[in-house]
Point group: C3
């Protein structure tokens, strides 16, 4: 694995959390490949093999739908909050060609409208990442949350 591949992968991780922490859902969508998918699931369900997930965007159209929901359908109907993500790469395995599988720890802090900060969720990202001329993209992201009972309801992707 080259350093350049790792740099592209880390830059993708950075773009992802920067997009969410600035509530730029178009930039979030742009971190996914055209055949990309996103699942956000509690570890309890993941380990039991139960498919019940908090979010399951299993094709690009559903990723696009999520952007529409957050920015248009739900806008103004939920109590807003500010997220702050941290991510640390734990493993990276070449899977042949331009494909890599990575695992990263994450924590998401949140600040409510009154200005109080707490831990929203923590867990691990399990990713299939594809490198390309336009930078790395997520072919598949599973956000597996240790947390099963978040201190507030979750609107934005993790």
């Amino acid at each position: 694995m080259t350093q350049e591949a790792l740099q592209q992968i880390d830059a993708l991780q950075t773009r992802y959390i920067a997009a969410l922490d600035s509530k730029d859902m178009a930039a979030w969508l742009d971190t996914f490949a055209s055949d990309g998918s996103y699942v956000c699931i509690a570890n309890e369900n993941e380990e039991s093999g139960l498919p019940l997930a908090l979010m399951m965007d299993d094709c690009h159209e559903r990723l696009e739908d999520r952007v529409t929901y957050v920015t248009k359908v739900w806008a103004g109907t939920f109590e807003d909050y500010q997220t702050r993500h941290f991510v640390q790469r734990i493993a990276c395995t070449p899977k042949g060609g331009d494909l890599y599988e990575t695992v990263s720890n994450f924590t998401v802090f949140y600040t409510d409208s009154a200005g109080n900060t707490g831990t929203l969720v923590c867990g691990r990202y399990v990713d299939q990442i594809v490198l390309g001329s336009g930078g790395a993209k997520l072919k598949s992201r599973r956000a597996v949350m240790d947390t099963n009972v978040a201190p507030r309801y979750i609107v934005y992707p993790i």
Copy 2:
């Protein structure tokens, strides 16, 4: 942008948090350029364009004053606490010559004198960083806190 420039920038970020977490205010001051400035402000005020800040050291003399306040004037008059900083670079943009603008997520944990740990604040650093023969220095740091209501009063810079 060269890898060497990024390494200098990341080393500066590391020196900064190492200085604060070991309460070495002289080392904190040394992370700033001779024309450096520091502002610590709540995001609520930052986004509203309100200049009200928790700390506003708009010239090097005020940075020096802050060191004096923390180490001499206030010393022994406040309930002390131990910080632990984490920082993750989100963006880095060359601004010409030796100047770079970076954005980094930060979290600061604190432990009180009874030994209990909590989250003090989280947010983002928006920095103007200048490279030089003595390593990178902060020309300007804005610590923009998501947190508006910290669980205790803040004595040390963030």
Copy 3:
């Protein structure tokens, strides 16, 4: 200090937290050199020069014992929890030959069996790390916790 040395050191830090967060105690043990040792101590005791530690595995046999305790002796007798570690290197000093001394900030989050997440402890790792053909290994790790009163009892190493 070469970039390759730093990469080996960072890879060791990653293997360490990946081992603990997946409860793989054999992999945890494998991060230590054959003459490795591990101490987990509150900063209050560390700074006072008091040797009282939460864990003191001062030889490889005691490291092996800890693995046995966690995986066999204590198994099923404690309320389990899931950890999630974050680590950030603060300093790295060559000590001659293949030996390096590093300091890193750490935070450990935990999720209880009901699915609630909180901060378990934060602090700093003070390490003696030895490079070798099989990757970097811990010759000595001191996990110095800022936290003196964790929100639950600690079973797994930090």
